[in-house]
């Protein structure tokens, strides 16, 4: 279970949100909503441990993530704004590198994952020739080969076409149904067949 207690994050001197508390249990999806600049990305980065909150604590299974460090990171798969794709490597190489750095099975089936995100024909193409949407698909393919229960996704649906957006929603639903946790920001309404918890940040 992911637990956030009295969390305050700030940019410079300005507090983005104050004393935020919530928890996400296995089998739950948390949809964070709010206007541009209200601190959604900052919150997600704090949840990953990438940035330090000004105040408050984030706990995983009851222990602060700062104490868990690497142990927490084995439970986590983060897809942020930046796709983490090198233009000079091809799609397969990029995904293989992603699995090798992240928390994926070292024998994960790269070809199958690329096929599921519809990139099998572009697998040998340098990633700089992929479109925005295809790059996004490639970044999201990391989720398919990851074995982490907690997915933290920052606007995963941007640049995706309607068809793949639906595929992705199905993927989220099956992850949650399998006891996974998802924390997601999106300006679109989510049509995921799973219990959705919502937080409005800019209130």
């Amino acid at each position: 279970m992911l637990q956030v207690v009295d969390l305050t994050c700030s940019r410079g001197d300005r507090a983005l949100f104050e004393n935020l508390s919530f928890s996400v249990r296995p089998g739950e999806l948390l949809h964070i909503q709010g206007a541009n600049g209200c601190g959604k990305t900052t919150l997600l980065r704090a949840l990953c441990g990438l940035s330090q909150p000004a105040h408050g604590e984030i706990r995983w299974q009851g222990t602060a993530i700062r104490e868990l460090a690497g142990q927490y990171r084995t439970q986590l798969c983060y897809v942020g704004h930046a796709n983490g794709i090198q233009g000079d490597l091809n799609a397969a190489e990029n995904l293989r590198f992603g699995t090798c750095v992240g928390n994926a099975d070292s024998h994960a089936d790269i070809t199958a994952a690329l096929e599921r995100v519809g990139l099998s024909r572009a697998a040998r193409l340098p990633a700089k020739f992929l479109s925005q949407g295809q790059k996004r698909r490639l970044a999201l393919a990391r989720l398919l080969v990851s074995s982490s229960p907690l997915w933290v996704l920052d606007e995963p649906l941007t640049a995706l076409d309607v068809h793949f957006g639906a595929t992705m929603s199905g993927q989220l639903a099956s992850h949650v149904a399998g006891g996974g946790l998802v924390v997601i920001t999106s300006h679109q309404e989510l049509t995921v067949a799973a219990p959705i918890q919502k937080i409005q940040l800019d209130r």
Partner: protein
């Protein structure tokens, strides 16, 4: 089973070498700089072999040091821009060995190539044969220290506007001891003196840098990403 630490480090090392091979211009620029700067001296000072061979140790070492510093900018810049660095920090493994793998790959594609080029340029400055061997050995010991120290500066100046100039201000003062003992050893060897002490000191610097800089670089990267 996720990758072991060694597997991850090897994977990062191999990827950075692949990337360097696909962007040869990035690798070639500091090398060309090294060649051009050393070639300017015979043109500026005149072709007198006695003068040139006296200048050679200092010129070669300063040029190698500047070329190595020039190449430091690309160590993390691309990974920072495209978000790979975030993924590296979120790896279940500690960031320090990951940084070490990146610096090692960077040294192979910068410092090691400077060492390979150096005998050719030493010949151009009419450095005696014995001193050329000393030059190669000191550069082999010294350039990894330059890469390791430079990585701290590169991590600290990530995402900063005008980072290149700031990087040189941060790193050049730290490079001076390596320059003094590196060039000193070559000068001593050219005059037929014993160089053991110089090598011991350069070796000590390398050990210290290996022990502390990857850790400092990892901390600086976390600060830059926050």
């Amino acid at each position: 089973m996720p990758q072991t630490l060694l597997g991850t480090a090897r994977c990062i090392f191999r990827r950075d070498l692949t990337l360097a091979a696909r962007k040869p211009a990035d690798v070639a620029t500091p090398l060309a700089f090294f060649v051009i700067v050393t070639s300017l001296f015979p043109l500026g000072v005149g072709p007198e072999p006695n003068v040139l061979s006296k200048l050679a140790p200092g010129v070669l070492w300063v040029a190698a040091l500047l070329a190595s510093m020039l190449s430091m900018g690309r160590l993390f810049a691309a990974d920072y821009a495209d978000g790979t660095l975030e993924q590296l920090t979120l790896s279940p493994h500690a960031l320090t060995p990951i940084v070490f793998a990146k610096v090692a790959a960077h040294w192979v594609t910068s410092g090691l190539l400077l060492v390979v080029l150096s005998p050719l340029l030493a010949m151009q400055l009419s450095l005696p044969g014995q001193a050329t061997w000393t030059l190669i050995a000191t550069l082999l010991l010294g350039t990894p220290v330059l890469s390791l120290l430079g990585s701290v500066g590169a991590a600290l100046t990530l995402g900063v506007r005008g980072g290149g100039v700031l990087l040189s201000l941060l790193v050049l003062p730290l490079y001076t001891p390596i320059l003094i003992f590196g060039a000193g050893a070559v000068t001593a060897s050219a005059s037929g003196l014993d160089t053991t002490a110089y090598f011991s000191l350069l070796g000590a610097f390398l050990l210290l840098a290996l022990a502390f800089t990857p850790w400092a670089t990892a901390a600086a990267l976390r600060i830059s990403l926050d």
